[in-house]
Amino acid sequence: MNNDNNIDFKDLWKKQSVSQPDLTDLLARLSKFKKAALRSLWMINILLSVTSVFIVFIWIYYQPQFVSTKIGIVLTILAMVVYVFVYNKLMGDYKNIDATQPNQEYLQKLISIKKKQQFLQTKMMSFYFMALTLGICLYMYEYASRMSALGAGLAYGITLLWMLFNWFYIRPKQIKKQQEKINTLIEKFEEVDNQLRS
């Protein structure tokens, strides 16, 4: 098996001590895993239902007169729902990559999903902030119209100031943080993918 001074790697390889855990260990972990998956599914559904109930509640309880208020409410809630939905969809795609394909195809899938995520994260974050700002401004209009000019100016001024702070400070910071994380990951996956091409 061994010619001249070659080392028998296969023999060494197989001498690695291995302790196969009992199958019950794995089964225990499996049931925990299934419960966790079920729980996360419930979380999303509960979150979405609670938001829907909330929207209906405001609508009925406060009886807004202006159509702008109604649009504002819908827009605000919609922003959140869309955000949660897209985010979960992405996570789901990522988790459900077919693990039985060859490494090369698997890596390419990983990279393509991460790139999609990279693109969507930036777009989603901007959409979210924009819809939220617009929604809140519309929502406030009905109540501001009943205030004095000073009160209305103050209410809008403070809200918009807060939104501007979010847009120009929090949003870019958040995007940068996400992008850095995802970029290093894409780079790494691409590097591994390139190993197969050399």
């Binding site: 070659n6 080392i7 790697f9 296969k10 060494l12 390889w13 197989k14 001498k15 690695q16 001590s17 291995v18 196969q20 855990p21 199958l23 260990d25 794995l26 972990r29 499996l30 895993f33 693990a99 039985t100 394909q101 060859p102 490494n103 090369q104 195809e105 698997y106 890596l107 990983l110 994380k181 290093t184 990951l185 790494k188 996956f189 591994v192 190993q195 197969l196």
Partner: protein, 157 residues
């Protein structure tokens, strides 16, 4: 094939593959368990298009590749001294050295050489990794040369 049968037949082999990838006993144990969770979930979808071994090793190696992401999240160097390394597994230094050398190779080379040492036919390795057979042969040859060299350097020291 029954899951239990697969588990008994493949656990050791999958463990060694994962161990070659990360060279850390506990992480390898986790990766192996994760692999079998996926196997368990997907077993129904397995149609005998490929050998069961090829199928399982694909899952295992893909799972190893994915762990790159977790590594990023918890850089090993920042962890406190690994307690598990001192206890148990007092294996011969030569074996330890082999696994260390393999875990230092580029990621895909780790997978290829581990499969080769596991006595998997080169055409099967090609199917697992997604390369041509000729390509796999060349790579295995180069990796073995690299390992031999490392072993020789180690002896001289």
């Amino acid at each position: 094939m029954e899951f239990e049968q697969i588990y008994k037949m493949y656990w050791d082999r999958i463990f060694r593959l994962c161990m070659g990838f990360v060279n850390d006993y506990d992480t390898a144990q986790d990766l192996t368990q994760e692999t079998f969770i996926i196997v368990w979930q997907k077993l129904e979808t397995f149609r005998n298009e490929s050998a069961i071994g090829t199928w399982i090793f694909r899952i295992a190696s893909n799972n190893c590749l994915r762990q790159i992401e977790k590594q990023k999240r918890f850089p090993k160097s920042e962890l406190p001294i690994h307690l598990s390394e001192e206890k148990q597994h007092s294996i011969e230094p030569q074996i330890q050295f082999l696994y260390k050398c393999i875990a230092e190779l580029p990621e895909t080379d780790r997978i290829i050489i581990s499969l080769e040492l596991e006595d998997i036919k080169q055409n099967e390795i090609a199917k697992i990794v997604g390369l041509s057979e000729a390509n796999v042969r060349v790579k295995i040859h180069r990796i073995k040369e690299k390992l031999t060299q490392k072993f020789k350097e180690n002896e001289q020291r």
